[in-house]
């Protein structure tokens, strides 16, 4: 006897209704087990039918398709924003427009589950690594680079003697004004936020500013420099604040052992989070698969083949083990489905 999965897969292969196929893809995408075949099958069928989503919203003739995908996605992920839905649609389209060769090489279809960002079934957002921490290594590098520069600046100051007002002013204006982007801190910050790659540009700008600074000071008279400098000092602070997510209140000397410690700590943390995320992801996958199977069975009642049944019982055992570990070893659970009718 054919099992429920065989029948379902055959139905997908025969289907000519794009809406049904889209629903199947949305249900099964992101699943990492053998059940991903359904998503692949439905996507392949859509590709065979030549069904594509218009790339641009201006394509009025085919706009209905885009709206249909968005509608189906929003039913599944009711809490996500319009912007996220557009990203999902775009991801969807990527798989529809892909070359056949590229499509065959795919390991998994991920439309809403990419990078762990999603608003629906996968509740991984709780364990998602914060951006500030995932980029901790890069941030550390940037901070080190900046602090080295500042150390150099300070050393320069110390060497030049007393750190007079003029000296401080000369060093303090080098960051902001070289390319004339900003005459105040807010504009400078906005400009830096706009370009996206803040820290590397800052350091190059700082170097460039350092080179051009003496010339500009030499050209202008000291009075005008002082006036500029006093207005520029807060600007530099504002720009610095915008560069650094976490800035230690007191500067500390960096040595290799400290960096190694930092790195070790970060690695351990990421590894621990990865294990946790993997566990959560597995549970979510199981949930997605069970729900999708249940929906399929609800529409087309079938019984499992012996092999499918064995697989499902294995999942059930796995779930119970997770619960057992989650609460207490040896705990006895009995889970009932109860419907409460309020008339």
């Amino acid at each position: 006897m054919d099992g429920a999965f065989d029948v379902l897969f055959r139905n997908i292969e025969r289907s000519t209704d794009p809406e049904e196929l889209l629903k199947e893809i949305i249900k099964w995408e992101g699943v990492s087990s053998h059940a991903q075949l359904f998503a692949f099958g439905a996507m392949q069928r859509l590709r065979d039918l030549g069904w594509k989503i218009p790339k641009y919203a201006r394509d009025i003739q085919n706009e209905g398709r885009r709206l249909m995908v968005k509608e189906l996605l929003s039913r599944e992920y009711s809490r996500v924003s319009e912007k996220t839905l557009n990203v999902y649609v775009s991801n969807f389209n990527k798989f529809l427009r892909m070359d056949d060769e590229e499509f065959k090489k795919l390991e998994r279809i991920t439309i809403t589950h990419s990078r762990g960002r999603h608003g629906g079934l996968m509740a991984l957002s709780e364990v998602e690594i914060p951006v500030s921490l995932s980029a901790v290594a890069q941030l550390g590098e940037r901070r080190i680079e900046m602090e080295e520069e500042e150390e150099e600046e300070e050393e320069g100051l110390d060497e030049s003697g007393e750190g007079t007002d003029d000296d401080v002013d000369e060093t303090s204006e080098d960051v902001v004004f070289e390319d004339g982007l900003a005459s105040d801190g807010v504009a400078g910050e906005a400009a830096d936020e706009a370009d996206g790659s803040v820290a590397p540009r800052r350091s190059s700008r700082a170097r460039a500013g350092h080179a051009g600074q003496q010339e500009s000071v030499a050209e202008s008279d000291s009075g005008s420099v002082d006036a500029k400098v006093h207005s520029r000092r807060p600007a530099r602070r504002a720009v610095q604040d915008s560069f650094l997510v976490e800035r230690p209140s007191k500067r500390i000397a960096l040595d290799s052992s400290m960096m190694l410690n930092d790195l070790l700590h970060t690695t351990q943390w990421v590894r621990r989070m990865h294990t946790h995320m993997q566990d959560r992801a597995n549970q979510c996958m199981m949930l997605v698969q069970a729900l999708a199977t249940l929906e399929a069975l609800d529409r087309d009642p079938r019984e499992f083949s012996p092999k499918e049944q064995e697989h499902s019982f294995g999942l059930l055992r796995g779930r119970a083990e997770v619960l057992d570990n989650l609460y207490m070893k040896g705990e006895r659970f009995m889970v009932l489905l109860v419907c409460v009718c309020v008339v």
Binding site: A4, L291, F333, L336, L337
Partner: protein
């Protein structure tokens, strides 16, 4: 527990044929609750059990009367002494069922004509997962 569940599922014969829903409606009206006929196929029950065992569900603790404990107390004539003790109550956990599973449950009830008991029943229906027989201290 899982082994027992799997044994029960293996011997499960499948959904009942429901010919007279009126009896169910009567019970629902008179008592406010009724046990439904068997509505599910074995494969469906397996999937529903997997969904219901979702470890991310958040359970609320419920202290419920324990009839066995009460009977025991009555038999030993020390009912008053044990009225307010833990022997007469049980702890249970209750969590909202996954909304998609709930939607499937509602659809199935309607398919069996049970959803017609009240026009707004589908909207008013909500489903929960009960966790019973847990250790008492777990939810206290």
């Amino acid at each position: 527990m899982v082994n027992e569940t799997i044994q029960a599922l293996e011997s499960y014969r499948g959904p009942d044929r429901v010919e007279n829903v009126a009896a169910f409606h009567d019970l629902l009206r008179k008592r406010g609750w009724a046990v439904t006929p068997k509505l599910w196929a074995r494969a469906e029950l397996t999937c529903a059990a997997i969904v219901a065992l979702d470890p991310t569900l958040v359970y609320d603790g419920i202290r419920q009367k324990d009839r066995q404990g009460e009977n025991l107390a009555c038999r030993t004539r020390s009912f008053l002494l044990t009225l307010f003790t833990d022997d007469t109550v049980q702890s249970r956990g209750m969590a909202f069922m996954h909304e998609k599973l709930q939607a499937i449950v509602v659809a199935r009830l309607k398919r069996y004509g049970i959803g017609r008991a009240a026009p707004s029943m589908a909207e008013a229906l909500s489903a929960v997962v009960l966790n019973s027989n847990g250790k008492k201290c777990m939810f206290e």
